[in-house]
Symmetry: C2
Amino acid sequence: MKKFVNKAEDFVPEFMSGVLAANPDLLEGDLEFQMVKRKDRPVDNKVSIVQGSGSGHEPAHVMAVGPGMLDGACQGPVFAAPPVDACYETIKALATPAGVLVLVNNYQGDRMAWDTAVELAQAEDIKVEQFWINDDVAVKDSLYTVGRRGVAGNFFVMKACGAAAEEGKSLEEVMAVAEKVNNNVRTMGVALTSCIPPAKGTPIFEIADDEMEVGVGIHGEPGRERTKITSADEITKTLFDAVADDLPFNDGDRVALMVNGLGGTPPAELYVLYNKAAQLCEERGLTVARNYVGEYCTSLEMAGASITMLKLDDELEAYLAAPAQTATRIF
Amino acid sequence: MKKFVNKAEDFVPEFMSGVLAANPDLLEGDLEFQMVKRKDRPVDNKVSIVQGSGSGHEPAHVMAVGPGMLDGACQGPVFAAPPVDACYETIKALATPAGVLVLVNNYQGDRMAWDTAVELAQAEDIKVEQFWINDDVAVKDSLYTVGRRGVAGNFFVMKACGAAAEEGKSLEEVMAVAEKVNNNVRTMGVALTSCIPPAKGTPIFEIADDEMEVGVGIHGEPGRERTKITSADEITKTLFDAVADDLPFNDGDRVALMVNGLGGTPPAELYVLYNKAAQLCEERGLTVARNYVGEYCTSLEMAGASITMLKLDDELEAYLAAPAQTATRIF
């Protein structure tokens, strides 16, 4: 296993401890519930934005906590939903009179955990609602999902809701923002390699040296097809067309374009994909108003990438441009 | 080859085109010389900071161009020095009466190219000096280097010189900053896997499934030893002790601590390493005033990491905290 790991069962608490140690002014956490929150939250008059899902997708989710993004997040084991009590404690820790919005990527395990936690919290008169994200166009039903999966488009939902909440919008208004983003965002990914969860010690799926999985899920779920690896440009076109045809994105649209690395693909390759994706936008008459190239939602060390597009209007573009700060940074 | 590539010979110009396409307001480039520069530079009264080396280390070097960092950079093919004419044209494009400082990572190929280019420019009365970075403590002489190699510590030299130049410091003063950072920065890395340059199509070295290369160079050069993979904590201690004992870093020192990913290692694993490195700093009586966890100097898709420490004083800490902007960003 070519990984930096101590004991497999310590992997998640140890990386979370690292995130906390690196951000002592910004974040505080409760490792019992694998939860991280903004040190300066909750505050009464602001809706709290919360998320939580399996680990292995970093920077989602605990590394997306900070001003203008999430107020808090909890994580389960690698590729497994957080336990109900972690979800419940996270809601409780961020509860405010203005309310809590839980953004849930559409996977059965996550939905079950959050459904129960939200019910428990509501029974205690905590104001909390949830919203399900399902941006992955690859397949309708999947190994762990009924309906479409929630993947890297998640970033845009967090970012826009985070900005709307900072502006003082109500819970209903922030939910409307989540719905607007989710309705206008589409993603598809491709895997060149598999990946190895530390506790499993073996790859989550097998793939030949000359093969790729088109439309892969972020836990290695099967996508649309297994094919021979083609050129970067052909791969980009396959992903881009699937995304662009689905909404669809039409001549004259303004978009945010994301090329997301799945963990094992280095920056230069992501920019090769971006280069082609930007050309395809131009050919389709789309204006790229904002772009995002890097790691936003990974699958451990999987070599691969996804393309996400969000159709913008003035409101969404302003939310994306609003300031934000998280553990993930360069300088 | 599990990579996003079109024709191998197009890899570098295509990723550079992607970087330019993603940053139209910030950057402009000349693909003939594989050069990228700030759109708003040069200006007469500011020292220009320039760098250039082989590709495959992104975000170094062209993705490190921007306000408060590099004014320009040129890149050679993957893991090969840029040609003399590219270096010469880059100096010329950024030349100002205040002068140009070329920051060269210590490799023979890079030094030869920049030596000649600087001589050519000086013969034309362009004010230009170069400074050699050699922060890698692993080995004294190496496959492509006499003396120590220049690796991820390079980031701190660029950042501090970039900030000093923005402040209006003279060429001599900015060179003194470069020297101060280089004298106080130390790095060592480890590789768990090899990597495949697109034009080569095969790994740059072979390594068994249970082995790691301790003290690896960023082009896969041999380090101190080839051993069995140990725990993340043991690996961190090996790298940390080599770095900390070398300067040495002593009780009471204030430091910047970087955990740099080599391209194929995902964020969570880097934070596992950071978690231990921060503990080791505490045990040694070092205060981590600033921390950096992410990809700063990669080796294509190599799984691995390096640890860099810079001993700070008030001047260097202020330079690191100064604002900067490059192609590499999250929001």
